[in-house]
Symmetry: C2
Subunit: 460 residues, 2 copies
């Protein structure tokens, strides 16, 4: 938990930004897996953590701007609970540590909100993402679940985004801790990966490091010999010599700040010649992109730069024909790099994703694209000091997509489909670091994690 002043100040600024009405923050509940009481690891809502710092289930908070009240709604443990859970710090004391003096029983929240609605106060809430919240908004505010997202307060969303986007020094310190644990996970990945192990045997060991260091993983580990499958969560394959292994894994700290790193290594000791060549294309794109990140630069333009570097490299390999920049202008890169260059990172690994990418990664004047590839770029806006973003270009050879483009002879003025055929089963490579934008440029967060071919082979 940060100091009391941090939370008090954040709420003061939020009140000024929202201006009037009542702000309702829905904390998260415990979440049952296969029955109510067999629960997943509890994860508090990130905006709740940002403004209230209280990392416990079944709490809700109200900032009543007009009546100048800040209240936590939640219940103290009964003596019967204590028999099962052991003694815990009372909620009133925890709340006082974040500068909140008023704690009321959960069951009184409904009445409080109804009375605010009766006095025509606007009740601001963020878009829900957990089903429990849809049920509560329905019960307390008569919000139809089908409309809850549209009825979320745009004023509140914009205010929260305008604060959480700029990471303070103490937040960056905490993010850096998460990145350091993530680096340890990747060093373990490089140390233990070997032919004959299953993907999940390696993934399990990495998760144990995140847990051991006091937090957990910040997202499900992607650990795969099929790096071209961008959203693979199955990890059943036995890893074989000659393959590439892609690991996209990050830790979150006990305070729930996140890290998010990717490395791609040979499953055996060495990259093959062609793997090395392709790897260096991605590495060049990643390093060029990082160098380009500084205040005022549109992240969209950095994405274009990285895409151009990727196609320049593929031209040398003979897959791409013609001018790489012109090819990118024609979206040729989306055959190999279907996703975005990166995203904001903080208390969420895709920071504030549930608030809407248009608000987080774009602006009134810069709308998110809708074309294939561009619609997956979570962030396009100009970089500013204090932003923490990931930079993660990649090359992905997806047979289904190659077949579709080839059957349409799509953009064949730029693509040598015969040459491409020999890369059909190449799989994928991604390299990802986390950076903070400074006044003059950027800084890569955390301990150094090798990414050169020689560096990686040296650890294998």
């Amino acid at each position: 938990m940060f100091s009391q002043d941090t939370y008090i100040k954040r709420r003061q600024i939020l009140k000024q930004k929202v201006g009037s009405g009542l702000i309702l923050f829905l904390g998260n509940e415990e979440s049952g897996m296969n029955y109510r009481d067999n629960v997943y690891t509890f994860r508090q809502d990130s905006s709740f953590l940002y403004y209230f710092g209280l990392d416990a289930a079944s709490l809700h908070a109200v900032i009543d701007i007009e009546n100048d009240q800040e209240i936590i709604f939640g219940d103290e443990l009964t003596i019967d609970d204590i028999v099962w859970t052991g003694p815990k710090e009372p909620l009133t004391e925890k709340a006082a540590k974040v500068g909140i003096q008023k704690v009321r029983p959960s069951k009184t929240l409904s009445e409080y909100l109804k009375s605010a609605q009766n006095s025509k106060q606007t009740v601001h809430f963020l878009p829900p993402y957990r089903a429990e919240h849809y049920l509560k908004l329905q019960e307390w505010l008569e919000v139809n679940p089908a409309q809850a997202s549209q009825l979320a307060s745009v004023t509140l969303i914009k205010a929260v985004v305008s604060m959480r986007s700029y990471k303070s020094e103490e937040e960056i310190t905490e993010i850096e801790k998460a990145v350091n644990t993530s680096v340890d996970m990747h060093l373990e990945f490089m140390r233990i990966t070997q032919p004959g192990l299953t993907e999940k045997q390696v993934a399990g060991k990495l998760q144990s490091l995140a847990i051991g260091q006091g937090g957990d993983i910040s997202y499900p580990i992607i650990l795969t010999v099929n790096g071209e499958i961008l959203h693979t969560h199955t990890r059943d394959l036995v890893m074989r010599d000659g393959q590439l292994s892609l690991c996209d894994a990050g830790a979150e700290t006990a305070m729930h700040y996140c890290g998010d790193l990717t490395r791609t290594i040979p499953t055996g000791k060495k990259f093959t010649t062609i793997q090395k060549e392709m790897y260096e294309i991605v590495l060049n794109a990643e390093e060029s992109a990082i160098r380009a990140c500084k205040p005022g630069v549109l992240f969209k333009d950095v994405h274009t730069l990285a895409s151009t570097k990727l196609l320049e490299g593929l031209k040398e390999v003979g897959i791409i024909k013609g001018d790489p920049a012109e090819a990118v202008a024609n979206d040729v890169h989306t055959l190999f790099f279907q996703c975005g260059l990166g995203h904001m990172m903080g208390l969420d690994v895709h920071d504030m994703e549930n608030l809407g990418e248009q608000y987080v990664g774009y602006t009134e004047d810069l709308k998110k694209g809708t074309a294939f590839g561009w619609k997956s770029l979570r962030m396009g806006r100009a970089l500013e000091p204090g932003f923490v973003v990931t930079v993660e270009p990649g090359l992905y050879f997806i047979p289904t997509l190659i077949d579709r483009w080839k059957s349409e002879n799509k953009l064949s003025q730029f693509i040598d489909y015969n040459k491409l055929e020999s890369f059909r089963d190449f799989t994928g490579i991604r390299i990802e670091d986390d950076i903070v934008i400074t006044e003059t440029g950027n800084r890569i967060l955390g301990k150094e994690l090798v990414k050169s071919v020689e560096g990686i082979e040296g650890l294998r």
Copy 2:
């Protein structure tokens, strides 16, 4: 997945037992942690797995008894999805493997149910435990979320319990796999625990074994030097020499059958004299209880037996006075053994807990107790061949509870409160194994896991 015949037969029997109407099985959805798309490890509903075997999110199933239809409602991947997820086996093929020929798009389920309701068919559903299911029952069947549990079908609950309670040979094989992985986790616990490590450093390593063997943990690992806190999920403490470490951990297999074992060991190399004495009291209770488990015996009576053995031991230590059996009849044991002796285990670690303990662990004639201690006994009914249950007695010295009883001088004819005071900070011990009831007695499942003092010290 078991053979097609297994699932077909289970559904046939279920249809006969329920008799008429339409049975709706709600499969589980992906569950977002801090935003919609950052998901927890997917866990399918266990009854859905039992009757349909399909381990994927966003599926629902209908057994329409009157119209003799079995239908899976779910959506095939689009070509756009495949770009992100890689090619997957089509849902129609997966459904065919469990003997279901009809697959329909999700969006048609609502219409199907409405038409059943219009024809006055009873729609049977199980009690929901995930908030998404409350929303769906409301949308599809106009079930008020506050009433969804009461409106669940008792006929269906009883039918499901009457089938899932009796484990088949192939299920026992699968449970035994889970127990074997759980044994490996506990051997690792005994191997790596040492003063100076945090509880979660050890817990993380155990979880990695469960993940590596193809499944995951079957419930959040309890790994604590405060074994008396029965529901502790915080694992932040540094383990110190002289303390006991209690580990309650189990794996589930890729098919989601569970194991559930507990061992208590010295954090350092050896038990102290008093720790050894207390440990052997619990071990004697556990072994006596296991010996008593056979067809026809009320599990409630085995609980009483274990409780008596615990008090007999505590009498030797000088904490208990008078006749142990009489003390148990007066519920004296609930000061030290506040929970139940065990529970059913299968696809859920507390098997079928969401269906209601009265239906799972008790009968029409044997109601669950309401007094302290007895209300936490999940299972009381007579044992039958094929039941798989845990046996897990323990001694827990809970300062809050001791203070409360002492302040009331409660049952002081049986309790030497002065002597007890010196055990105030003793913490807790639990020993737990998983057994299957056979025709003549029972069998402990899985590889042997040491539980004698000498055996444990030999591994430290």
